[in-house]
Amino acid sequence: MAAVSVENLRKRYGDHEALRGITFELGEGEVFSLLGPNGAGKTTTIEILEGYRPRDEGSVTVLGEDPARASRAWRGRIGVVLQSSAMYETLTVRESLATFAGYYERPRPVDEVVDAVGLEEKADSRVSRLSGGQRRRLDFGLALVGDPELIFLDEPTTGFDPGARRNAWEAIRSLRALGKTILLTTHYLDEAEQLSDRVAVLRDGVIVAEGTPADLTRTPATEIRWREDGQVHVERTQEPTRVLHELTGRALAANRELEELEVRRPTLEDVYLELTEDAGE
């Protein structure tokens, strides 16, 4: 059974249609990214799935329940990492985790979570003394302490320096290694590419592409560029081997050099930019 299933989800704020009928599914143990620029509808989507926001239309099932009418038991099965890492500043790391652990029926042992997020040395420090990266790790710990099956991460690394991002990625990979189903939103491509099994690209409230990171870059054509007679030629093709063979064959026959010959597979970034820039506005 799918951990999350969303069908024709719609949401409007006044005149603005934030979600215009999106559909996707998320299997158990899968890491799924909602990728898109700011304002694409990522946070609206994730907050509807978390049960924070009501939807206007469509059906949503998360772990077998409708989040808009979710039970307490359901809340015990999900973990949420919000964009802001607000916590009680005067509690220590251990106290924070123990406080949240107490909310769940079968929490993970606090010390185990402290280790899992690498905060052993800071376990008895107050939250106010943590660095930004350490706070984020505690954030993951708070989402993890209830031993949830499904974890929502809303832009887990926005505003991080590269080192802190790598640490956060490691933390997310370790969640995945524990077999957790993860839904994350991000506007960083490399993040989606690095972490997810599947990606849905969201633009203006519509999913414009969906698949594995490899799928997304496979669909568009390979680009072959070269210079001939002072002019740059670009050819896009689904059959790069044949096109390249013909091209080089012709050049060899004519005893010419294909200057600046280049064969390029589009990166996810190219695909993303193409998807989120063209059409529309």
Binding site: Y52, R75, V80, L82, A86, L91, T99, G102, G146
Partner: protein, 249 residues
């Protein structure tokens, strides 16, 4: 119930570690008591000994400071920073959280009351109240009322920065007009008219009569009704409009 006790422990710990709350809960009321008591503690006010009269007013000031102002400010700050939203995503029921917050506030107010009574006894020779049960019931009614009003007020405040200003702009004039610091007899007519609708006026009058006249809690059905009515309004607003998510985003 287990969740309530668990959460109460956290709330008490948070309370005990907050310097702001310690200042507004204990230091400020006690400083005011000492200052005002030194100025007119030896006078006779409305037929009562000045310090005794002031002590009842201080318990009234304490209830607005701890249960109304303090509670409203820290709830808005927690809401706007996203802490309440995070708590809401867990299986902790809303009632357990709110009940723990209110109970922690009651504990803080009990300590504030003990400090005011002790200070009055030691510094100004104010006799201890005659009917402990009636005093406890009176203070409990006041604390619950002002806590409900404080929770209701959070609905109207939209930012953490504005919380302190908005709350102070309401509770300080209210404490003044309701007679926390001096007798209302010298007040102009319009201030008395305002005072006549404020719950704190009735609460202070009731507290004073229980402490100084030997009245019992249940002798004051009229005062109880006015105070409880305000509490009910606060509770209704809080129950129907309380927000867990920050105002922006």
């Amino acid at each position: 119930m287990r969740l309530f006790v668990h959460e109460l422990r956290t709330q008490l710990r948070l309370y005990s570690r907050s310097r702001e709350l310690a200042f507004f809960t204990f230091l400020l009321p006690l400083i005011l008591f000492v200052l005002l008591g030194s100025v007119y503690g030896d006078d006779t006010i409305d037929g009562f000994d000045g310090s005794s009269y002031l002590e009842a007013g201080m318990l009234g000031y304490g209830v607005t400071s701890v249960a109304f102002a303090g509670l409203a400010i820290f709830i808005v700050i927690r809401r706007e920073s996203g802490i309440l939203k995070r708590v809401r995503a867990t299986p902790l029921p809303a009632w357990a959280y709110i009940a723990a917050v209110i109970t922690a506030t009651l504990v803080a107010y009990a300590l504030n009351t003990a400090a005011v009574l002790a200070l009055g006894r030691l510094l100004f020779d104010v006799p201890l109240p005659p009917h402990w049960l009636s005093l406890a019931l009176t203070l409990l009614l006041g604390a619950l009322t002002f806590a409900a009003m404080g929770l209701g007020l959070t609905v109207a405040i939209r930012s953490a920065e504005g919380a302190s200003a908005a709350v102070n702009a309401i509770y300080l004039p209210m404490a003044f007009i309701s007679g926390s610091f001096f007798s209302q007899h010298s007040f102009p007519q319009f201030l008395r008219a305002i005072a006549d609708v404020l719950p704190l006026t009735y609460f202070i009058r009731m507290t004073r009569d229980v402490m100084l006249q030997g009245d019992e809690f249940w002798d004051h059905a009229g005062d109880i009704a006015v105070v409880a009515a305000w509490g009910a309004v606060g509770a209704i607003i809080a129950l129907s409009r309380f927000r867990w998510a920050p105002s922006q985003g």
